[in-house]
Amino acid sequence: MAAACAPAVLASGCGPNQSITSPVTDPAREIDTLWWAMFAVGMVVFLAVMALLVLAFVRRRRASDPAEADRISYAVILGGGMFAPVVLLAVLFAFVIRVMPAVSAPEPGSTRLTVEVIGHQWYWEVRYPGTGAVTANEIHIPVGTPVRIVARTADVIHSFWVPRLNRKIDMIPGRSNSIELDVPRPGTYRGQCSEFCGLGHAEMAFEVIVQPRNAFRAWLDHEAQPAQTPSGGAALTGEQEFQSASCADCHTIRGTPAHGRVGPDLTHLGGRRTLAALTIPNTAGDLMQWIRNPQGWKPGSRMPGFASLPAAARQALVAYLESLR
Amino acid sequence: MTSTPLPRARPNGWYGMLILVATESAIFGTLLATYAYLRFRDPSWPPPGVAPPSVTAPLVLALVPVAASVPMGIASRTARLRRAGPLVAPIVLATLVQIAYLAFQVHLFSDDLARFSPRDSAYGSIYFTVLAVHHAHVAAGILLDCWLIARVRTGLTEYRRTAVMAIALYWYFVSLAGLAVTATILSPAW
C-alpha cells in the first residue's frame, strides 16, 4: 500500500501525519509553498544543465572557430553562472524574507494561551502555566486559537517539531525559545524530537491534540485536578505499592506524596493514549510489560525495570495507574 | 641560471613559518573571539567574587616580548643579508629577557590560580586558557632559541640562516599575540 501511495502522498498532501507536504496551518502552508516553488524552479535549472550535457554528447565535435567557441562559452558561463543565479536568488531571498515572519517566535503575552514544553531524555513534559495541569507527551490545545509554545530543556538539546503545524525549534539549555501553533482543524498531529539527544532519540515522539474549545476547557480543568484516591481493591494496594516501590522517587502524582521529577507526571496517566513518548499504546497489558522491563520497549530509557517486583504487586500498580483518569 | 641564491630571497622555511603563524593567529583569534562571546552573554563579568584583573603588571609585561623582538630582528637581518654582524649575542639577550618574562608570568598565573579557579566559571575557564596558551607559546619559543643558540654558535650556514629568520618571525608573532591577549584579559578592568 505504502508503495503505491508514497509519491502520491508527496504531491497531494493527504496522508502521513508527519509530512511537511501535508500542512494544516498557515505557517506550514507557506513553507510548503516555498518548497514547491523552489522545487519547480530548481528542476528547470537542473534540466537546463542536463540539456547542456546532452548537447555535448550529441555534438561531439570540436568547434571550428575556437575564438567564437570561447565567446559563446563566456556568454553561457556568465549568463548561467552569474546572471541567472543573481536574478533567481534575489527572488528567492525576497520570498524567504516574506515567509520568515510567519514562522517567527511570538512575543510573550501575544497569545491567550501559553504552554511550556520541556524536553527530557527521552520524553516531553507539558505544563500549562497558571493552572496546575502537567502532563507528558500529549499537548492539548484549543482549535482556532493562537498558542505560544515555550520550548525548554531539562538536560541536553532536543528539538520540538510538528511538521504539519509549523517549523521546528531547538530546546537549548539556558535558553527558552518559542513558537506559535494556531491550528484551524481539530485533529491529532504527530511530532518528534529532531535533534540527536542520545539513546532514546528515535523514541521521543509526541502528539498535539487539537480540540474544540469546550472540550479543551474541560480537559484542562480535569487535568489540573489532583489524582483521586482509589476507593479500594487492587487500585488501592497499587497506590501503596507505588509509594513504597521507589516509583515515587521519580514520578509525581499530584494529591499524593509522590513528587519525583525524573520521570513524567502520572497524575492522569489513565487518560493518555500512549506510553513512553508514543512508543507503546496505553493498555493494561502494555503497562504491565513497561513496568517489568522498560528497556525492552525503549532501550536506554532512564526508568529501571521492576521485574523483581512480585507479579501481584505489578498488577496492583497497573490497576492503580489505570484508575488515574 | 645560477645556483647561488639571491641574497635577499626568503627561504622556504621562512614561508613555512609564515603559514604556521597564520594558523596560530587563527587559534588566538578563536580564543579571543570566545572571550568576547562569553562576555557578551554574561552580564556579570568577571563573576561575583572575582576581582577584575590588576592592570599595571600585565600591561608592562606585555611590552617585554615586543622589546625582545628588537634583538631578534637584528639577528634576523644579519642572517638574511648573509653579512657579518651581531648574531649570537642578540639572540642570547632576547632569550634571557624571554626567560625572565616567562618566569614572572608564571608567577602571576599561579597567583591568579590561588584567587579563583577555571572550574568556577566560564570567565575563569577562558581567562586561564588564553593565558596558558600564550605562555606555552613563549615556552616553545625559548626552547627554539636555545636550540638556535647551540647551532649558530659555530657560524652561519644556509640552513641556520633559515632557522634564524623563521624563529625571529615566530617571536614577532608571539609578542603581537601577547599584546592582543593582554588587551583582552584586561578589558574588564577598564
Binding site: G15, P27, W35, L52, L78, G80, I157 | T129
Partner: protein, 635 residues
C-alpha cells in the same frame, strides 16, 4: 614525449640521478620515505581502508533501517556506528584521499618539481593521520566509540551525559588529525608558491593546483576553530572547566558556532580538490583547453573564501535573531555564483570540445549531475523557513550525500581511473570501468534519492529505528537496496583496478594525451620525477610539443638536470622565475618516530595519564632535536 630512449649522455645522467635518489629497500624504505609519491600511495591505501570501514558501517545502518522496527543492532551500537561513519568518511577518507593521496602524488608532478617543499614534514603528516585514525578505531574495537554524532553537540557530549571515553577518543583523535592536515596544508602552500618549474607563472599553473591552493588556505584558517573547540571540550570533560556549562556562564551554542566555523569551510575543503580533478580530466578527454580558465581559477579561490561566512546556516533552528539568519542565508546564496561559474565552464568545455566518454570522463559527467542536484537542494536549505522544517531530517542527509558523493567521491573515483596508468604503468579495463561507473551511478541515486522524500515526509536523521505507518517504509527499503548495489559497483571498481595493476596492458608515459606535466615523465615516474626540469610556456605544457622535444636536448646537454645532489629548483611565487636551487632532505626515520610518540602521547592524555604524557612531550622534543641534528649539505 617521455625520456625513454635516451642518448648516451642522457642515459648517464639518468643513471646518476637514479643513484642519488634511490631510497632504502623494503619496509624500512616505506617507514623512512620522504618521496611524495610513496607518501601519496600510503595515504591512498590507508584512506581506502577507512573508506571500506566507513562503508561497512553504512551498510550496517542501512540494514538496520531497511524496515521499520528492526533490531539488527540496538541504539547503543547504532549511535556509535553512525558517528564513526560520519567521522571516518569526512576525516579519514575524503580529505586524506583528496589532499593526502591525490594532492601529494600529483602536485609536485604537475608543477614540475622533484618533491614537496618539506618532504619530512610530509611524511610526518601521514604518520600523524594514520595515528589519529588508528586511535579512533581503537575505540570501536573496545566498544566505546564516540556516539554523539559527527558534530558532537554539547551538552550531550559533556562528561555528564557521555561519561565514557568515547567522546575523548573523538576529540583527541581529531586534534591529532587536525595537526596532520595543517602540516599538509602548509606544505602544499609553500610547494605551490615556490617549487613550480621555471616559466610556470601563476596563470599557467594547472587548475588542480589552484584547487589544492584554495583548499590549503581554507584548512589553515578553518582547522584552528575546530582544534580550539575540541580543546575547550576536553578541558570541560577532563578538568571540569565551564566553557559549555550554562549554570556557570558557559554556553552550548559556543560549541556549535566554533564547530561550524570550521565545518562549513570543511565541506568546500572536501569538494575543491575534486573540482580540481574535474578540471584536469575534462580538457584531456575533450581535447581542448579549459574554457574561461582565469574565471574558474578565481571561482575556486572565491568558493574557499566565501565558505567562511555561511556557518550559521547549520544553526537556523536554534532560535538566533532573524537578522543574523537573513545575513547568513544571503551569504549562502552568494556562494552559488562561483559554483555556477565552474559548472557552466565544465559544461561549455565539453560542448565546444570533442568529448570522448572514457571512464574518467563518465565519472565527471556523473559528478556534474550530482553536484547540480545536491547544490540545488543546498539552496533550498539556505532558505531559512524551509531549513527550519527539514533540518535534522533525511532531507539534509540526502543533500550532503549528493554533494559529497557526487561532487567529491565521483571525481575521486574518476581520478583513480585517470591517473591509474600514471601510477601503475598499466591500463585499467575500459569496458569494465564503464560498467562500474553505471553501477555506482545507479547505486548512488537509488541510495540517496529516496532520502529526500523520507525527509520531506518527516523522518528525522540519526534514528536507529522508526515506526511503520508514517510512509517511510518504501523509501528506506529502496535506500538499502541501493546501498548494496552501490557496494557491488564499488567492489567491481576496485577489483578492476587491482587486477589491472597486475594484468593491465602497459600504458606508456601518456596514454590519454594529457596536457599537464605529470604526463611528461615515465609511468610510474622515477623517484626524482623528471630527469630534466621542464620549462613551461603555457597552461598545458604537455601539449607544447616543441618544449618537450627541447627537454630531450636539455637532458643531453645537462641543462637543469641537477645531477649533483638531491636538488630541485625554486622559483618566484608569482611569475615563476628561477631563483635558487634547493637541497632536498633524503630518507629519515624521525617523522615516523615522532608520529608514534605523538599518537602514544595522545593515548596517554586520553587515559588520564597526564604525567607520563608530559614525559612524552619531552620525548617529542628530543625526537625533533635529533630530526634536525644533521644539517643538509649547503647547496
Amino acid at each position: 614525449m617521455a625520456v625513454e630512449s635516451a642518448a648516451p649522455a642522457a642515459a648517464q645522467r639518468i643513471d646518476r640521478l637514479d643513484r642519488i635518489w634511490a631510497g632504502r629497500p623494503g619496509l624500512t624504505g616505506w617507514l623512512t620515505t620522504t618521496d611524495h609519491k610513496r607518501i601519496g600511495l600510503l595515504y591512498l591505501w590507508t584512506s581506502l581502508a577507512f573508506f571500506a570501514a566507513g562503508g561497512a558501517e553504512a551498510l550496517v545502518m542501512r540494514t538496520q533501517l531497511a524496515e521499520p522496527r528492526q533490531h539488527v543492532v540496538g541504539p547503543a551500537t547504532y549511535d556509535q556506528i553512525m558517528t564513526m561513519h560520519g567521522v571516518t568518511m569526512i576525516f579519514l577518507f575524503v580529505i586524506p584521499l583528496s589532499i593526502g593521496a591525490f594532492g601529494n602524488y600529483l602536485v609536485p608532478l604537475m608543477i614540475g618539481a622533484r618533491d614537496m617543499a618539506f618532504p619530512r614534514m610530509n611524511a610526518l603528516s601521514y604518520w600523524l593521520f594514520l595515528g589519529s585514525g588508528l586511535l579512533m578505531y581503537t575505540s570501536l574495537l573496545l566498544g566505546m566509540a564516540p556516539d554523539a554524532g559527527w558534530f558532537d553537540y554539547v551538552p550531550l557530549a559533556s562528561r555528564r551525559f557521555s561519561p565514557g571515553l568515547g567522546i575523548d577518543f573523538y576529540a583527541l583523535g581529531l586534534i591529532l588529525n587536525g595537526i596532520s592536515s595543517t602540516a599538509a596544508a602548509a606544505n602544499f602552500l609553500v610547494t605551490i608558491a615556490k617549487l613550480r618549474a621555471p616559466g610556470m607563472s601563476l596563470n599557467r599553473m594547472p587548475l588542480f593546483c589552484f584547487a589544492i591552493l584554495a583548499t590549503s588556505f581554507s584548512l589553515v584558517f578553518a582547522l584552528p576553530a575546530l582544534t580550539t573547540d575540541l580543546v575547550f571540550l576536553e578541558l570541560d570533560r577532563k578538568l571540569g572547566f565551564r566553557f559549555f556549562d550554562v549554570a556557570h556562564g558557559g554556553d552550548p551554542l559556543l560549541w556549535q558556532h566554533l564547530f561550524w566555523i570550521f565545518g562549513h569551510p570543511e565541506v568546500y575543503i572536501i569538494v575543491l580538490p575534486a573540482f580540481g580533478i574535474a578540471t584536469s580530466i575534462i580538457p584531456t578527454f575533450t581535447r581542448r583547453t579549459m574554457t574561461a580558465f582565469p574565471l574558474v581559477a578565481v571561482a575556486e579561490l572565491l568558493v574557499a573564501f566565501i565558505g567562511f561566512g555561511v556557518w550559521v546556516h547549520h544553526m537556523f533552528a536554534t532560535g538566533l535573531p532573524a537578522v543574523t539568519m537573513v545575513f547568513f542565508a544571503a551569504a549562502s546564496l552568494i556562494i552559488v555564483i562561483p559554483s555556477g561559474i565552474q559548472i557552466f565552464a565544465w559544461c561549455m568545455t565539453m560542448v565546444t570540445g570533442r568529448p570522448e566518454y572514457k571512464t574518467p570522463l563518465l565519472f565527471i559527467v556523473g559528478f556534474i549531475v550530482f553536484f547540480v542536484f545536491g547544490g540545488l537542494s543546498g539552496i533550498t536549505l539556505a532558505a531559512v523557513p524551509f531549513d527550519q522544517q527539514v533540518t535534522d531530517t533525511y532531507y539534509v542527509v540526502a543533500h550532503f550525500h549528493y554533494v559529497i558523493w557526487g561532487a567529491a567521491v565521483f571525481p575521486l573515483l574518476g581520478g583513480l581511473y585517470y591517473w591509474f596508468p600514471k601510477v601503475t604503468g598499466r591500463m585499467y579495463h575500459e569496458r569494465i570501468g564503464q560498467t562500474t561507473f553505471w553501477l555506482v551511478f545507479a547505486g548512488t541515486n537509488l541510495t540517496f534519492f529516496p532520502m529526500h522524500i523520507s525527509g520531506l515526509l518527516g523522518m528525522p536523521r540519526r534514528v536507529w529505528t522508526y515506526p511503520g505507518g508514517l510512509g517511510w517504509n518504501v523509501e528506506n527499503l529502496v535506500s538499502t537496496i541501493g546501498a548494496f548495489l552501490l557496494t557491488a559497483g564499488l567492489v567491481a571498481l576496485f577489483a578492476n583496478l587491482i587486477v589491472s595493476a597486475y594484468r593491465g596492458a602497459p600504458a606508456g608515459a601518456d596514454p590519454f594525451r594529457g596536457g599537464t606535466l605529470e604526463w611528461a615523465t615515465t609511468s610510474p615516474p622515477p623517484r626524482y620525477n623528471f630527469a630534466v626540469i621542464p620549462y613551461v610556456t603555457s597552461a598545458y605544457p604537455c601539449w607544447d610539443v616543441d618544449d618537450r622535444a627541447d627537454d630531450r636536448r636539455r637532458l643531453e646537454a645537462g641543462e637543469l638536470v641537477l645531477e649533483e645532489n638531491h636538488e630541485t629548483p625554486a622559483t618566484t611565487p608569482v611569475d615563476g622565475r628561477l631563483d635558487e636551487i634547493l637541497h632536498m632532505p633524503s630518507e629519515s626515520p624521525w617523522p615516523f618516530a615522532l608520529g608514534v610518540v605523538a599518537t602514544l602521547g595522545t593515548a596517554l592524555v586520553l587515559s588520564d595519564h597526564f604525567l607520563i604524557a608530559a614525559a612524552g612531550v619531552a620525548l617529542a622534543a628530543a625526537v625533533l632535536t635529533l630530526w634536525h641534528a644533521k644539517e643538509p649539505a649547503p647547496a
